[in-house]
Structures are given as C-alpha cells and as structure tokens.
Symmetry: C2
C-alpha cells in the first residue's frame, strides 16, 4: 500500500473558488493526475486574497497544490474543443470531469457522446441549478441564529467556509466511488452535488431538522457552551483563554478531579435533583458548573492549568490566532509529518499540508506546490491529447493556449 | 450505474459521536453494509440530545441510518473476540474496521495477524494519540478569534461541528481509496486520521497559515463581512434578514444593477481611487458599499427584494431558524429528492436526508432508518460469522450479546 492510492486516475478540473478545487486537491493528494483548466490569465478565483507581495494568491496556490495547469482561451470554440478533448481522452485513466461551472459546452451528455463511460461531477449551489455560495446557504441552516449568542435577526456567520469544505470531500468521495464502479461495470455517470444539499443533509444527519420537526423546538443560542453536555471557554490568570470539554463521562470525571470540585458537584446535584454523571444534567447545570471552573481557571496561569489538566486527562485546548498557531503549535510544523516546507513560485518557502491521512509504515509522497498558471500546457497537450510540436505551436500562435507567465504576478480582474 | 456504488463492501464500525459514525453513514448511503457495534445498552453517544419523547436520541438515529446494529458486551473477552472475528471475517467483502476508539484489542496489527489484507481506519483527536474533540481543536485554528467580531480573548465558537464533518468525509474517502487499492494489489493498510490534522490542513489549503507565515499578518475579525470580497447581512423593511454575496464580478454587476447604485459606485471609486470591479477593492470599500445596500434593503419588504434580486441574478439568501427552514424551505422537504419522510422506531415519522449526491437518470435507494440497538445481532452472527442457532443462543444466555430492546428508550448513562 502506498500514498498513491489513486495513481492512474486522471481528473480534468474546470473550477473556481473552494469546493471543486479542494475536491481536486484531495484526489491529487492520493496520487490522481489532476489537471486544472483555467482561462488564459486566470479564472475568477485567481486573484483572491490573501495575496503574496508578488500578488500571487495564497488561496489559489493553497487549493491547487500538486495539480498540473493548462491555460486555454475558454471563450473560443477551439479552446472549448480542447477542454472537451481532454475530458474525453480515450485512455483508460481518463474520462473524469470535475467542475463547478455549469456550462452547455461541458454538459455530461455532450461529453458522454464522445466517451460512453464518461464521469462528470458538477458542483452546484442549489440542486435546481440556481446560484448559492457557502454564505447564502449557511444563513438558511439556522446555525448563524444560534452562534455566538446570536439570533435570526442578529446572526453570526461562521468564517470557516464549512459547507464548501464538506462539499469538497463529498465530491472527492463521490468521484472515487463512481470511478471504482466504472472499473467494475464499465458504466459512466453524471454526478451532481449541490452545496445546499450537502449543508441540509448534514443538518438532518446531526438531528437538527428532526429536533425542529419532531420536537417543534428551536435549538437555543447558548454562546460558546457545548449543546447537550458541558463545555465552555475560560480565561486564565495570565490572560490566556482555553476551551474545556466534558462531553463523555470520562472527560467529566477528569475535570471534576482536576479542579477538585467533588463537593460543588454534590451540592449542585442535591440542590437541583440532578445527576451530573449524565451529560444532559450537566448541560442543565452548565452555568453553575461554569462558575466553578471559571473561578478555578482564573486563579491559575495557563502553564499550571496545562500541567494539572494533563495529569488528570482533561480535554481542553488553548485559543490561538493563526499566527500564534503557526508560531507555537507543533501540530502545525514540520514536527508533524502532515506538514512540510515547500517552495511555491511567487510565494517563497512556507508550511504546507499534505493529506491528513496517515498510513502506517508507508513513506509519504512529498507535497508539490501549486503550478504556475499554464505551466504544464505543452506537456498536457502532448501526453494527453498526443499533439505534436507543430500543432501545439499553432495553438500558441493563435492565442488558444498559453504557457506559464515568466512573471507569476496577478493583474487579473475577476 | 446505481446508487449502490459500494455494494459488496462491509464495514465494521465501532464508534461514537460524530466523525466515525458520519463516515460510516456516508459509506452506507452508497450501499456498503455498515455494521455498527455497540456496547449492550448503548455506547457513550447513545443518549445524546436532542431526545425524542421516548428518550431515543435524534442525534444517534440521525447518524446511524441504514446501518445494521449488533449489541455486544465489549468489556468481556468473549465479546471482544466477536468484534475481532467480525472485523476479520474472511470473505472478500470484509476486513474493514472503522473506529474512533483506540483500544489495544482493536489494534491494526492484531487484526492483521488474523487477516493479512486488513484495512483499519482509526479516527483520533491528535496524531500523537492525545485526546481532542471538535471544540478543543477549533479553538486552536484561529477561527473563533475572527468570528462574529470576536478576538482571541473573546472568541466565538462555531456551533456546527465542522471539523467532525470534514473528518468524517475524509475518512469515508480514505477507506474507499484503500479498499479500491486493496482490490487491485491485495494489500491492506492501517489508516489514521486525526481531527486536528484535518482542521489544520484545511487552514493551510485555504491559505490561512501561509497568510500568517508569509505575510506575518493576522486575518482581521470582520464580523459577517466576507473576507476579501463584498458580502454582508442586511435587514429588510418587514423585519427579515438576508445575506448578500458579491464575490465574483458577475455577482457584483447584478447587485449594482439591482440596487441601482451605479452612481454611488462611481462616487466611491473616485473618492478612494478604487476599481470596484475588482473584489479586493470592494473589500476595501465594504463599509461604504454596505451603507448603500443597507439603506436599499431597509426600505423594502423581503418579497420585493427577492423579486428584484431574482430578476437581476443577485446571490442572496434569507436567514432562518431551523424550524423556519423545515417549515418553509422547499429544499428541506420531500420536493427535494435528497429528502424523504421515514419512520424511525421510537421517533416516528420525520424528514431524513439520503446522500446529497444526485446521479442523473438513476432511481435513488430509499433512506433506511437507524436500527434499534441490537436489532440485527442474530442475523449478523449468522450470516457474517456463520454461527448456528445453538451457538447464538449460548451467547445470549451468557449475556455476551443482546437483541433489540422491546422498548427503544434510553436509560443509559454515558
């Protein structure tokens, strides 16, 4: 077994933003040959912040690591024909298109008329084809109305594009399942995955829609408390902040012992007829428990708390900014095999993550930086489409394809 | 091509909480035979809120749809032997264990000594085996310090267990990749996936760690604004709230036209030397743009705004509570093929989601409710372990296994 679990699978990715590119990245991390197709000069996500001083996008280079890049004039019929030819190339490894761009010239039926066992995976906003993005889906999920003590009229949006991430990994999974089935049956498939379906299905799987429907109850907005158990953030004597979780009985026992709050627990149980070994009762008594833990934490510096919590096995973590994380957490450093330092053209040397999957006893495949836009144009035309040098030269001369810019800076307007 | 893309794959799932059960659910949605193994009486997640009036958990039943359930006394050697035998059953379809419970008697090497091509997937908190949950990982990501206008000392936790969800889908993907590779090579694999690695790798892929490291810059906390483009929530004249996004140039053009703010745009561009066709410039001018859109929205009821936005193709969505979502959004109703009404024992009839994946031209597999705990004990012992009736009867008599409770209520303490 190696990390190249998907070696031999080729994906043509015509994409932008997060969900589709992250799906492609996930497939590339496992050894698939992912070819990202972009408009000459870059697609609409090519200049997204954050930008390096060179104006290269740290967002784009983060999401397109380990892919090959071909730059094509997608407005011209000859350019579109090239993308269709790439997607339907007749070799066994090909015939998979991953896209979030619904366009008639990449429609499944059209491609399937050129390659019978074609697999296309289209990521959409809504299942009916209407437009939606993470933010306009999230507002409908109810989460912003219960985050940070918010309400439906004072909602708090998550900053993490969580639905895009979930959709990306579902898409990678779906493509892989379809490719595996095709290997056995010879059949292709037209796959569609809507961001809103991903979000609402998660809501349903977590019991949130049934809670509303069966119990007729709105989940309360409880700030940083963990719903249905005990967990909250606390300040320390030296001005740090930690999150403490006591979801399982084991975690609760550890917290009670660490804070020496056995008597307080008995007092709360007696006063309210609760049994705090039960997580639902802990949730009910959350404010009283929190007051005790808060006082305990506020009297101690973080180092002391960490030592006590480690001794007793308390589940807790420190709040950090991203800079603090990168500067001080060994989990985001080359001490963690998931992370490596790579050199991305136009960005320089920086930490980058490979797949989070650890396969015991197997050497990891090195993380490859994102390509320059169009860096692999000629190679792809030659080894996927089997074009010869004169044919490739002609495509360049006519401005239908482009190679890598000498200067990887962004002047593009989306 | 059918929805049963994974038919013939059997997964033994020994799990609790979200990440591992949601991974198993994802595999089950595609036709895998997922057998959830639980302690007699239920594991530590069996009583998690929300609870139906019967005290059956809507959370547990949501995450275990379409699986088979076997109840075993996992404290006794004979019970542990049964789980090992299930995981290593010699037929071609078997030999896959999915778990988030690191325990010596389910260690990969032990199972691989019984079945050479064993695949185990262990979901961990941290890669070094130390404990972490979604909440204690999230605090380290920096997101709570930039959510809802928060800071590292006044953090705002997300309520969605986003890292658990991402980890679940990564785990399903990893198991599938390993199973596919095993089919070709005959090799098993020990897979480990840490929640914190999933979270921090997403941070890195989105460019957040490079932003901190390469630019030395903390991403600002900007409330509900979309970072790096234009997007914000606005109130309407009739007391509703909407999220408006103008990330792409097309979305921006639509918003400008819908709100008739061409002159305001020119004024802002001239005053600050900006070009609002560029998303980075829109982000810089976000407060001034927001003031115009806010005034426009506050003068109009939602119905009018919806009509105008639809005419111009503006990307927007309404904030809802979960109840409002379930009661009024057709995307969470049987009008959407992703959703069905199912009847879960102990819960009753309710909306449930199947896979969000749509495969064109293929009938969906009906969603099957979660099993009663131990509902399939005898069937699994008979058809996976090939035990005969006397042997199964003996296991019951000795209290090593249990069938379904007659009364599916929860009296369990975690």
């Amino acid at each position: 077994m190696t990390y190249g679990l998907l070696e031999g699978l080729r994906i043509i990715e015509s994409s932008a933003f997060i969900a589709a590119p992250l799906a492609g990245l996930t497939l590339a991390e496992f050894g698939a040959d992912v070819i990202r197709v972009d408009m000459i000069g870059g697609g609409i996500d090519y200049g997204r912040v954050p930008l390096a001083p060179s104006r290269r996008s740290l967002y784009w280079t983060g999401l397109n690591k380990g892919k090959r890049s071909i730059a094509i004039d997608l407005r011209r019929p000859e350019g579109r024909e090239l993308v269709q030819a790439l997607a339907t190339a007749p070799d066994e490894d090909g015939g998979v298109l991953l896209t979030n761009i619904a366009t008639s010239w990449l429609a499944h039926d059209l491609l399937a008329s050129r390659r019978r066992d074609m697999i296309t995976c289209l990521i959409q906003g809504n299942g009916d084809g209407s437009s939606a993005v993470d933010y306009t889906v999230n507002c409908a999920t109810g989460y912003p109305a219960m985050t940070g003590g918010g309400s439906v009229n004072a909602p708090v949006n998550h900053v993490l594009p969580a639905w895009d991430v979930a959709c990306a990994y579902q898409a990678a999974f779906s493509v892989l399942a379809a490719a595996g089935a095709r290997r056995r049956t010879g059949d292709g498939a037209e796959l569609r995955l809507a961001l809103s379906d991903v979000a609402f299905s998660v809501l349903a799987h977590l019991g949130a829609t049934a809670e509303a429907e069966v119990l007729g109850q709105e989940r309360p907005s409880v700030g940083n408390h963990i719903y249905g158990a005990f967990g909250l953030d606390f300040g320390t004597a030296d001005g740090k902040r930690i999150m403490v979780a006591a979801i399982s009985f084991g975690q609760w026992k550890a917290l009670v012992a660490a804070c020496g709050m056995e008597r307080d627990v008995e007092r709360i149980e007696r006063a309210h007829g609760l049994d705090l070994r039960n997580e639902v009762d802990r949730y009910e008594a959350r404010e009283e428990i929190a007051a005790i833990v808060r006082a305990w934490c506020e009297r101690r510096p973080l180092a002391e708390i960490d030592a006590v919590f480690e001794r007793f096995g308390v589940c807790a973590g420190q709040y950090r900014t991203v800079r603090e994380l990168v500067e001080s957490d060994p989990r985001v450093s080359v001490k963690n095999p998931v992370f490596e330092r790579i050199d991305t053209p136009g960005v320089g040397k920086h930490l980058a993550a490979g797949t989070p999957l650890r396969i015991s006893g197997v050497a990891r495949t090195p993380v490859r930086p994102a390509p320059l836009l169009g860096q692999d144009t000629d190679e792809i035309l030659a080894n996927v489409l089997r074009l010869d040098s004169p044919a490739i030269g002609k495509l360049h001369d006519e401005g239908i394809v482009a190679g890598a810019d000498k200067d990887p800076t962004v002047t593009h307007r989306n």
